[in-house]
Symmetry: C2
Subunit: 404 residues, 2 copies
């Protein structure tokens, strides 16, 4: 398995584009993206668990009832959520795309991201569509990835090449996500394409199983968005034997998917609103996987710890505190904690109590861009990893006046 | 029932003091407080639910086994938590106080607040005790309230006068709390005294029932502290008929207690680390009290909403989002939301969707120091209130480098 370029167009037969259509005021910001497959794909998706669901999610779910799709239309700048005419607009977006591409509206999926509760005008989308379609190309992933960004500072794109039954396959994706990120069962906007041949059922199984350990283990601010959505489309162009059950090929496909989703998860966490540092919390020795996950997520969600990491302050008491209130089954008197990255590893706590450590060495580790917080429990053998970011002045600045 | 001055010394027979003993480096900051009752009190307490519990909580719980107490010794600057010798130090603090006052060590309770995981030296406490005891007086509540402050900017003190069985009674308290505040079953450090006569069992019942709607409904940052503790002591000096069961007197006592705890809850939320605004979220029309509480707390815990309130931005979509992921049983299509305070009330959402409103009027309301977020569900008749604060640059500043 090797990392390659091309993002959502790395797989054969997928085209993409991204343009500025006018939903956003800033004319240099692309705000409309299209991903298109030359042939019908098997497709799967996972959605936010928020009771408030963006209208596009309802429409996408309906259009996916048969497990197939050919295109995804996405806008940024407006979430099309909590609007009286949301469904109507989302359906109209699909219909416009279908008409322009000469495909069934039922094969078009839709996603939106941006402010909640402001009606989404159809006009800019209608106006921008001809250019969007004319610019569709197999190197359009970059523009599409840009067009789905909101407060994101970095474009999120990754792809891998792997082999299934002697055939070379590709799987790649793009993502957006920077704030309102604390996914549950699904996450942010992520679009993944592959030319591997896999049945809709196995594709859904792969995705649903993967997100539990990837996108569902990220948190930027504890807020679960109304529009979280991961879509994966497989067009079978690689001509590998169709994956229709578990086995070696499915495992290899899962590995490719996981490589892409972990990379995108880390990119999203690192680009958390205002973030200056990526935090990775790895928990080992837990009584169960559930306990390991609860601990890892509780730690990366602690505002106090996040602020300490911003200040490069080895305030490990806040980690113990977050483990203690997490609700996980943990013997707190056996907990060990260390900070680690390329600069080395330093233990700050053993057996639930502080140990002498060099504040200077700790500072050196904590001033890096990526910090791993290692928590060794002694309750069992289960482990889990979660990703987050530091809490900074800029998070407050970005969110103090988002709408204007 | 009327508000009076005197705080924790408003009730007859209680003395208090607060001095600087040297646990904190800043010599102008008092860091050791003592509350003392001239006669034995019935006492009750509630404690943090964090699995990591400060050593003082264990000692206090042991000393309260018989439901009586005469003194509380409290230090700030060090939480005496996650230290190998924590229990030993907490016991020694009680023993020193007991010896100096000529009372039983078992009648001394202890609390600590500050950094976690650094051994608490006994020397400064030993050294400061003579001065602390010599300064005990019935107007010492002010100094005691100052001595328990950490990152608090305001001293928290309140008292009421009320009547039980024809006798004038008093109940007053002091509190500290600014960060690591998201209590569960108990909260921060709160010390309440009363001269009402009430049995230990009814006192515990009153306290346990009250905190569910007061201190447990505050959140500053979602972090449940390891040292949360509310202690109430009743010395019976008012000579009212002892409250030994539910009835009119118990109801009146509960009302007095609630007046004090609501006032302290609001003070703690308003003085949240870095806060510029007190947020009060009142939920009505819920299917159950549990649902009402879950919604109210989810809203005041949302980092995104808290940042929007800092920016006086009427971004109500974030409120709907927080209701949606709260886990409460809510019909989102019937939700109405308004902002209100002395400047008026403005509806921003009805039937789960946005309504036209004056941004100017909303700004006027949101620029005030206190903002009420009113959420009207249409699922039932239950209601609840929660208190929180905005998320600001200063929260990050305060917590980015707390230990130095």
């Amino acid at each position: 398995m090797k990392l390659i370029s091309g993002g959502v167009c790395a797989a054969s037969g997928f085209l993409a584009a991204g343009v500025h259509c006018g939903i956003r005021k800033n004319k240099t910001k692309r705000d409309l993206a299209l991903i298109y497959s030359e042939k019908t794909c098997n497709a799967a998706a996972v959605y936010t668990t928020n009771l408030v669901k963006g209208a596009p999610l309802t429409v996408t779910r309906n259009h996916l009832h048969n497990g197939t799709a050919r295109a995804v239309i996405v806008n940024s700048g407006n979430a099309n959520t909590c609007n009286a005419n949301g469904i109507e607009i989302a359906e109209a977006m699909c219909a416009l795309v279908a008409e322009s591409l000469g495909i069934s509206s039922d094969d078009v999926l839709v996603a939106s991201t941006g402010v909640i509760g402001q009606p989404l005008p159809l006009e800019p989308i209608k106006g921008g569509l001809p250019q969007l379609i004319s610019e569709l190309s197999d190197d359009g992933s970059d523009c599409a990835a840009q067009a789905i960004m909101t407060t994101d500072l970095t474009k999120k794109e990754v792809a891998v090449e792997f082999e299934l039954g002697g055939k070379t396959c590709h799987l790649g994706g793009i993502a957006k996500g920077s704030g309102m990120i604390h996914p549950n069962m699904a996450t942010m906007l992520v679009f993944i394409t592959t030319d591997a041949a896999i049945s809709p059922a196995m594709l859904q199984k792969a995705l649903s199983s993967d997100v539990k350990n990837t996108f569902n283990m990220i948190s930027v601010d504890g807020d679960t968005s109304t529009n979280d959505n991961v879509i994966v489309m497989a067009n079978g162009a690689a001509k590998n034997p169709v994956i229709e059950e578990e086995g070696e090929d499915f495992a290899e496909f899962m590995k490719a998917l996981n490589t892409v989703t972990v990379a995108l998860s880390r990119m999203i966490a690192a680009d958390g609103e205002g973030a200056t540092k990526l935090l990775e919390c790895s928990v080992s020795g837990a009584a169960s996987e559930k306990d390991a996950k609860i601990v890892a997520k509780s730690v990366i969600c602690s505002s106090l710890l996040k602020a300490a990491m911003f200040g490069a302050d080895a305030n490990w008491g806040r980690i113990l505190c977050a483990i203690g209130y997490s609700g996980a089954n943990v013997d707190i008197n056996k907990v060990a904690v260390s900070f680690a990255n390329g600069k080395g590893e330093i233990f700050v706590c053993k057996n639930g109590a502080g140990v002498d450590f060099s504040e200077e060495k700790a500072k050196e580790i904590l001033l890096e861009k990526e910090i791993e917080i290692r928590i060794a429990l002694a309750d069992g053998t289960a482990c889990a990893t979660a990703w987050g970011c530091d809490l900074t002045y800029d998070y407050v600045k970005i969110n103090g006046d988002y709408r204007t």
